[in-house]
């Protein structure tokens, strides 16, 4: 840190490099979002309601286009309950009707009862627009870091502290 202060050109290069990494990540995320037509094309599993298929911390890739077939019974979908902003990953177990008029019922594989109780008050079924994507790809465990960071905020401080220490202690 101190050494880079003495060389403003190098400091500026480092700053630009950092900004480049951030903007590349953001562009990839948004690009994936456009391709998959989903506001959140990659999600981390937060609960054990789909065990043993998905554990907490697993990474899921979503696809929200109906190019070949409609979203149908048996697919694992991620949906948002109206009025709540918590995405839920469950399997479609009933479907009545087609297209935008379809009424869908979901259930977690590890739950005894279906999701009627999880839905908003007065909502008995999901519509297609409540769904933000069907699960198409799976990578285990990789997302656990985000769960750790959100459940133990002090870890963020520790991580920043270690990074800062490394920057200060390093020698050119």
């Amino acid at each position: 840190m101190l050494s880079s202060l003495q060389n403003p050109r190098q400091a500026a290069a480092q700053l630009l490099n950092f900004a480049l990494i951030l903007s590349t990540a953001f562009m990839m995320w948004k690009g994936l979002s456009v391709i998959a037509d989903s506001p959140s094309p990659i999600v981390v599993v937060l609960s054990g309601s789909m065990e043993p298929a998905f554990q907490r911390g697993d990474l899921l890739f979503l696809w929200n286009r109906n190019l070949l077939a409609e979203t149908s019974v048996g697919e694992v979908v991620v949906y948002n309950v109206r009025g709540k902003d918590i995405p839920i990953v469950h399997r479609v177990v009933r479907k009545f009707g087609e297209g935008d008029a379809a009424r869908l019922l979901t259930k977690g594989d590890n739950n005894a009862a279906d999701d009627t109780e999880l839905y908003a008050r007065g909502q008995d079924y999901l519509a297609r627009r409540d769904i933000i994507g069907s699960v198409v790809g799976y990578v285990p465990f990789v997302g656990y870091v985000t769960i750790m960071l959100s459940e133990h905020p002090w870890l963020k401080t520790v991580m920043l502290g270690i990074m800062g220490l490394l920057v200060v202690l390093q020698r050119e």
């Binding site: 065990e51 019974v73 048996g74 694992v76 177990v93 009933r94 479907k95």
Partner: protein
């Protein structure tokens, strides 16, 4: 030039690229494992009752209880990258308008089962004794040739089926269909291919029942007399 931070960055970067390549190879290996699933399904007894399908149901509605027989061999779906196979049976039936034309199609799961691969047995949600027995049954083996083979005769459905309209009795052209969903350890989730062969993955042979119709609603007094009959029978046996 080489300080500790760049060294850590390099090691971490190398680790992630190696992990990514290994994961991609494992995921791609699914494509060279042949799949030859087969299944026979037929309904054995069908009943429509009016009542509350769940304890938390707020209204009385018609629901159908479809017992079925199933003989399936899905053992070829289990490879080293299989975590579990989710097997499910759906009932599919059309809703008819007043003029007899199809207004919408309906499908509902009546039965499902999770078959874990031996490598995922420890994750399954079952009583400890059964779990220990399951794990011991395949000690040291990656693939158990018996997994995915099953025969069910006149099996009770796990879920009774309903319709948002509250009416389901006397629906015609109902079909039962067997499906599966293969969950890998890493890679793409795959389903039954709905009548299409994809390379080494053959379609599910058979797997659909003949069309049948649901009976009219069973009247309450019918049910009462039959259940009271059953009770008297057991009583007479006991005495």
């Amino acid at each position: 030039m080489y300080n500790s931070l760049t060294r850590i960055q390099n090691v971490f970067g190398f680790f992630t690229s190696v992990a990514f390549v290994v994961a991609a190879i494992i995921a791609a290996s699914d494509l060279i494992a042949p799949r030859t699933p087969s299944g026979m399904i037929e309904p054995t007894s069908v009943q429509v009752v009016k009542g509350r399908p769940h304890y938390y149901s707020t209204k009385k509605e018609e629901y159908a209880i479809i017992k079925f027989s199933l003989e399936a061999d899905l053992s070829s779906l289990f490879t080293w990258n299989t975590k579990q196979v989710f097997v499910y049976v759906t009932a599919e039936w059309p809703s008819l308008g007043a003029d007899g034309a199809v207004t919408q199609n309906n499908s509902a799961v009546i039965w499902d089962n999770i078959i874990t691969s031996p490598s995922a047995d420890h994750l399954s949600n079952m009583p400890p004794v059964a779990l220990r027995r399951l794990i011991e049954s395949t000690a040291g083996r990656v693939i158990d040739p018996g997994r995915g083979k099953f025969q069910l005769f006149n099996h009770k459905p796990k879920y009774q089926i309903t319709h948002p309209s509250g009416h389901i009795a006397e629906s015609s052209d109902v079909k039962l269909r067997l499906h599966y969903n293969v969950q890998p350890w890493v890679g793409a989730l795959t389903w039954d291919q709905q009548g299409v062969d994809l390379g080494l993955w053959k379609r599910l042979s058979d797997g659909v029942s003949e069309a049948f119709a649901l009976p009219p609603v069973k009247r309450k007094d019918d049910a009462k007399t039959s259940s009271s009959k059953a009770k008297t029978k057991t009583k007479s046996k006991a005495t």
